[in-house]
């Protein structure tokens, strides 16, 4: 006997992480009827491992069109946060007062400055190269034991967990928009247009479908005959106990949250779907941050965890219509791009097509070699 329920919806968004939730929230704001399918606690949920940077600097290194996109995404964050907080009461802890990327030695700093210069020409994002003594004005307690950093005043940070909660709260307030514990097993095109989304409990028919399930997109895209060149890239993150507020701006390796805890990270490991943490990386991160900030020596590590970034060969997002009415949205910058996903990307999907100016982010930018190397699904 089948107890499957049937219901129709305009847009089915698959993936309850930051990317899917941003698109679903954006569609809902535009008055569209949305169902967001959230797998729940068992999901890899890269969003929970997000470091929380709202970041433009350095993005676009391998795909220059990404540089102005990321910059615009960061610029939209302020208004976006105000609106989301107003409707949900969740403070996203947004601060956009600048941000640093530290470089251990002169060679790295030189290379970093060259990239930033190149990206400035494309996006107009101004930057400075600072030495430790200058950095100390923003980050008291920083050591002199490294070459320097690049700085922009447009970067910042927010609380990714609060952001996810706010998205879910906004969707949960709208009856039927948030489907909890709903792992999508497959999607199939309907003969008259639209798609059927199948979970263990039910099937839902929708006019358009959005694939925003992170690494889960690999299997979903396969349902539609498309191979995605994305793969997991593990990042390990450490969090400390609370400490008096000393850092007013974040860096790529260290940021102090509004609670006073320090988030420490920056590891990149190509280890497949393994979400464990390792002693070696924990130690390396601890050693590095103590080198940059000697006062952290006595601050205690409280927890460590890891998450899988969803990485394309050029580290940039992919936006594409992979079949009529089936939109792919994937990236590893769910926080930085949250505002622009909720606004522009949701707008394209709402209008039914991805415009020409976004063609740079389509799947066909990848070569056969990229696809072979990255298709690990």
């Amino acid at each position: 006997m089948s107890a499957r329920s049937r219901s129709g919806v305009e847009f089915g968004v698959i993936g309850g992480g930051l990317v899917g939730a941003a698109v679903a929230y954006g569609l809902m704001r535009k008055g569209r009827q949305v169902a967001l399918f959230d797998e729940g606690d068992v999901a890899f949920r890269a969003s929970r491992g997000n470091f929380g940077l709202v970041w433009a600097q350095g993005k676009g290194d391998k795909l220059e069109d990404y540089a102005p996109w990321a910059r615009e995404g960061a610029a939209m964050w302020g208004d976006f946060a105000k609106e989301l907080t107003a409707s949900t009461g969740v403070d996203l802890e947004l601060e956009q007062r600048g941000g640093f990327v530290f470089c251990a030695d002169e060679v790295a700093l030189q290379a970093r400055a060259e990239i930033m210069e190149r990206l400035y020409k494309r996006s107009g994002l101004q930057f400075e190269v600072m030495r430790p003594a200058q950095i100390a004005r923003f980050m008291p307690g920083v050591s002199a034991n490294f070459a320097g950093a690049t700085y922009t005043d447009e970067d910042g940070h927010a609380n990714p967990l609060k952001l996810l909660r706010a998205f879910h709260a906004a969707l949960a307030a709208n009856e039927g928009s948030l489907r909890r514990g709903a792992r999508v097993d497959r999607i199939e095109p309907l003969s008259g247009g639209g798609y059927r989304i199948a979970t263990a409990e039910s099937t839902v028919e929708c006019g358009s479908v959005v694939l925003a399930a992170g690494l889960g997109n690999i299997l979903l895209a396969k349902c539609l005959g498309v191979t995605l060149p994305i793969k997991p890239m593990r990042g390990q993150i450490l969090v400390t106990e609370r400490y008096e507020k000393v850092l007013s701006v974040p860096s790529e390796n260290v940021r102090q949250t509004q609670d006073g805890t320090f988030l420490l990270g920056g590891s990149w490991e190509d280890v497949g779907y393994d979400t464990s943490t390792t002693f070696d990386v924990t130690r390396d991160i601890a050693a590095l941050v103590v080198r940059y900030f000697p006062f952290l020596e006595k601050v205690r590590l409280v927890r460590s965890w890891s998450a899988l970034r969803i990485l394309a060969p050029d580290n940039a997002p992919i936006y594409d219509e992979i079949a009529p009415g089936a939109f792919l949205v994937t990236c590893h910058s769910g926080v930085s791009l949250a505002a622009i996903h909720a606004d522009r990307v949701a707008g394209w999907i709402s209008a039914g097509s991805i415009p020409k100016e976004a063609a740079a982010f389509s799947l066909n930018r990848f070569t056969e070699a990229d696809r072979r190397e990255y298709a690990v699904g």
Partner: protein, 84 residues
């Protein structure tokens, strides 16, 4: 040993937490960094983290797990003891 700059005596089998419980009122033990409320030891077996105290310059140590030592410098984690 020293408690907030003043010399105190303790039994050889005291832990830092049991010493403090005998020396100060429970509402003067520490304040929570999260809520600001006074908190004091609850379990004395290393589970609850309510007995946190600064010992020899290292903050947030579980007082119930640390045996007192000669010359130890203990500071309560309350504003009156010089910490916020």
């Amino acid at each position: 040993m020293e408690l907030d700059g003043e010399t105190v005596m303790a039994g050889a089998r005291d832990t830092v937490a049991s010493l403090l419980l005998g020396s100060v009122a429970p509402d003067r033990y520490r304040r929570s960094a999260a809520s600001g409320h006074p908190r004091a030891p609850l379990c004395m077996m290393g589970v609850c983290f309510e007995c946190l105290v600064e010992i020899d310059g290292q903050t947030n140590q579980q007082g119930c797990l640390v045996r007192v030592r000669d010359g130890m410098r203990i500071r309560r984690q309350i504003p009156e003891a010089g910490r916020s």
